[in-house]
């Protein structure tokens, strides 16, 4: 299990992607699964910076990759505000263009692309565990 700490800013996204992709390759994920993992982690970290911290350079994002025999687990921790996933509306994917909201897709994509998404909220930090299995 390897842990790396990144500054909570959007410039960290490509560095985190590089790190997670490398760990995913070691875990034996397919190219498609690697792309899906990278997308989900990007959405998760963007949400942490934007919503949990409420902006860039407020706090750090701790990223741990845990190799599983069946795939990989990526654990993201932050020290911002907790949130209730149940409060996030499901986007209407069949709405006409004029009725489409420009935002609200990130959380939906993350849940669709991962095999398991688990939130844990503690007194002073939040933990998001993303699991991607080998196909």
């Amino acid at each position: 299990m390897i842990t790396r700490i990144f500054p909570g800013r959007f410039e960290s996204l490509s560095l985190i992607a590089e790190y997670v992709r490398g760990e995913g390759e070691t875990a034996g994920l397919s190219d498609k699964a690697l792309f899906e993992l990278e997308t989900a982690v990007d959405e998760a970290v963007s949400n942490i910076i934007e919503h949990s911290y409420g902006g860039e350079d407020i706090g750090e994002v701790i990223c741990t990759c845990d190799q599983l025999t069946s795939g990989i687990q990526v654990i993201l921790e932050d020290f911002g505000q907790p949130f209730d996933p149940a409060c996030i509306p499901v986007p209407n994917l069949s709405a006409a263009l004029k009725d489409r909201k420009n935002n609200g897709l990130g959380y939906y994509l993350m849940c669709q692309l991962m095999d398991e998404v688990k939130f844990d909220f503690y007194e002073n930090h939040n933990r998001l565990t993303l699991t991607k299995l080998k196909e």
Binding site: R9, F10, E11, L13, S14, A17, D31, K32, F35, E38, T39, D42, E43, S46, I49, E50, P91, L93, S94, A96, L97, K98, R100, N102, N103, L105, G106, Y108, L109, Q112, L113
Partner: protein, 111 residues
């Protein structure tokens, strides 16, 4: 991420290469806004070298599509999308609202 715009007779082609995420999406928005500011609303997005796009990039594209189509003044077409990117568009329900072409030439020819 790198962006560039080429002006053609019928439309402008905005090429986006590399990675569009929350850090780089504003630059793509700015590139498209500059085309709109010139009064050109017929746009093809060349995705030949686009490796990654997050929901931040999808937000930019849907906002740009709405702006292009307003008052029936134009459209924003997508071209040469890689398979991984296309799967994200399908998941987001975007393949129903964007016109997607296999090649830039096909897209330009549609205007």
């Amino acid at each position: 991420m790198e962006t560039s715009t080429t002006q053609f007779k019928r439309c402008d082609v905005v090429k986006v290469a590399g990675r569009v995420d929350s850090a780089t999406a504003p630059k793509l928005a700015e590139e498209i806004a500059q085309v709109h500011d010139r009064g050109q609303f017929k746009i093809v997005i060349d995705m030949t070298e686009l490796d990654f796009i997050s929901s931040a990039g999808l937000r930019v594209l849907i906002a740009a599509l709405k702006a292009s189509k307003r008052y029936n003044r134009g459209d924003l077409l997508l071209a040469a999308m890689q398979d991984n990117i296309k799967s994200v568009f399908e998941l987001a329900g975007f393949t129903q609202i964007f016109k997607i072409y296999d090649t830039v030439l096909d897209a330009v020819g549609n205007f």
